[in-house]
Symmetry: C2
Subunit: 398 residues, 2 copies
């Protein structure tokens, strides 16, 4: 009997038609129900802050939406803009602006190289790859990106013009960068600051599930290092309210924001202020902390479940992983350097996983060991079935 037949026998509920999916970091319908219940009670605002939300204009966003963004990103109001529905689209526009117009201390070009801690967010890597920007990977140390690796790259490589970071509950590893790590990172980058962009995707700024370290806001660390023009922080409410229908935020130096407004004026007559107004009303009804508490009650048991299934595998030396204190992912590393095989077998059994290398630039996982697990979308019972398939496969292969 081959492995697949074995597992099918062990999991009698498996049939040829069932599909299980741990690929994408999507909120579960139960999370979205929480949001819907609130939104359904809000009247769409057509005027706010004395501004007609129905018309063009206000490229920097509604004042009260900017206030909301500043409270989520822990940034200064004056240095925070509220924009459209996707922080990833914003990152594309920031990179475009750097590439074609340049910010004060950020002038990307086709020879530019960007440091990428790995495993990381697949869409970041694809976005940079599409600009023809070379990505150089660094591993993680316990409290953030590996500083020795960064130091070595900055010493030996030319045209290193930036770094991409998910500083809290990093996608997918769950790392939350310590202040010491970030300060040292800025110190290392400082000699290169005439052209060094720190892309700071704070996608999981308030997505704690367990106690997570406190973090000094990026603008304060940047300013202390005289590098206020070197960071580009983005975030959104996509995983706080509705996925894909949230509001994104951008924080950087005032000078950078001015350049960006000018750039955006050529590519949009202004952000969707109705959606911004809806979000302002939403968080008047439910403060962000209270909202995150409600979502945590749905997500946390799923994270506990993943941990419960992976723990024995780690104890038997078959894998390594760290239970994240928040965010949306688990990052699994197979001890047998056979991620491709695990993914294939899972696929054959109806469990979709991202392809091998998905969390690496150029889809290249040099050790063939990393698999991102996204446990939020399936309901608890379905998640448990996903985990049964996954752990059975690992147990058979490792």
């Amino acid at each position: 009997m081959n492995i697949l037949e074995h597992i099918r026998e062990e999991l009698p509920w498996l049939d040829a038609n069932s599909t299980y999916d741990l690929t994408r970091g999507k909120p579960a319908p139960e999370q979205l129900d929480v949001v819907q219940n609130i939104i359904a009670q809000i009247e769409i605002p057509f005027e706010l802050d004395g501004i007609d939300l129905r018309n063009y204009g206000n490229p920097e966003g509604l004042p009260s939406a900017r206030k909301l963004g500043a409270s989520i990103l822990k940034s200064d109001y004056d240095e925070t803009h509220a924009l459209d529905n996707s922080s990833l689209t914003l990152m594309h526009q920031i990179v475009s602006c750097s590439f074609f117009l340049g910010f004060k201390n950020s002038k990307l070009n086709s020879a530019s190289k960007i440091i990428c801690p790995v495993p990381g967010y697949d869409r970041h890597f694809k976005l940079l790859e599409n600009f023809g920007i070379e990505m150089i990977t660094v591993p993680f140390q316990e409290d953030g990106p590996n500083l020795n690796a960064i130091q070595k790259i900055l010493k030996t490589e030319k045209n290193v013009h930036g770094m991409v970071c998910v500083p809290r509950h990093s996608n997918p590893t769950g790392h939350s960068y310590s202040d010491d790590n970030v300060k040292r990172l800025f110190e290392l980058a400082c000699p290169h600051k005439e052209n060094f962009s720190i892309f700071w995707d704070n996608a999981y700024a308030c997505h704690d599930l367990d106690e997570t370290i406190g973090q000094t806001p990026i603008d304060q660390i940047a300013k202390a290092n005289d590098m206020e023009h070197n960071y580009f922080q983005v975030g959104s409410t996509s995983k706080i309210t509705l996925a894909g229908a949230g509001v994104s935020f951008f924080s950087s130096s005032k000078n950078n924001l001015e350049v960006f407004v000018d750039f955006r004026n050529a590519i949009t007559p202004g952000p969707n202020k109705i959606n911004q107004g809806m979000h302002v009303k939403y968080f008047e009804a439910v403060p962000v902390e209270q909202q995150m508490q409600k979502l945590k009650e749905i997500i946390k048991p799923k994270f506990e479940l993943v941990d419960q299934y992976l723990k024995p595998l780690q104890e038997e030396g078959k894998c390594t992983y760290t239970k994240p204190t928040g965010g949306y992912f688990f990052s699994f590393n197979s001890s047998n350097n056979n991620a491709d095989q695990i993914i294939k077998y899972c696929g054959d059994l109806g469990l979709k996983l991202l392809p091998v290398g998905a969390c690496f630039p150029y889809q290249d996982d040099p050790d063939n060991r990393n698999i991102r697990l996204a446990p939020t979308f399936p309901d608890y019972a379905t998640l448990e079935r996903c985990l049964k398939i996954f752990t059975k496969v690992v147990n058979h292969l490792n």
Copy 2:
């Protein structure tokens, strides 16, 4: 007494604090009231077409929103995607995709030149300028861009890789391209079709105020010339429902749409489907034709008023202009090549106009004669005051 003192005496209601503005093509609050009255009665849809609108995904947009887009653009459903709130942002993404990844017959690069009929849309020009793309201007003939000028450019210039068009109620001239004009345009471009992009911004597809010529859909003309991969049509509901909070649409060949979905997957986890759903519900309540009729009742008297004020100036040889059959603008050409002066005097009297050259690439109006007038935003009485200031200035200077 100088000119300003003269005019101030003739217009006793003018005071130092009043501001009048004919710069931007913004809907009037009365237009937006029409929309608000409908929207306020619609329940936000959270599911449609069997799709959960609250979550990520569906990079091509909601089926029923795509249907709406196809009906507005007169394109095929299969070749139409529904996306986010700005067709201009879409155009930026299409140009980015052509520049960095390339479509089948569209591979822009830093040596590319694009043909631009002038006067044209300022944000198009700024967008292309920011990519470092050279713009070559052509004038208009009665039924569209001047074909002789285009032919000459294609014969004499290298790296001419496309053209940007607003084919119906062109911004700001009001031209609606005839089928003959468009067919000839495709014939001229055909020998260059391996790398030729026709950016077709159909922003005013259904914004007729008077009878306007019928137009064969672009995809049909493109297909007849075996150039289905050479056009990129965009449009939106921004000037049909809410400005800045509408839904944008993209139509092109299936092959191009596939390339674009792949490109978009690196820069967004999907469009705002809640907003798309709202728009689908909106047009279930009020069909597009009925909506445009309501808006026309507000806009048309303003266009009549502009015409009434400009006509005597044209009859006296002081200017030329054409009364548009739709859209948002009048394009005024001073016979004295003194647009800068007219704009300056108007500004001194409190009437804001776009700076000279605004409707030309690189802000260069070689004849110093064109001024775009955007009469939709002010109410009727305020518009009349704007026109009094404007015509007094022209009468004194010309």
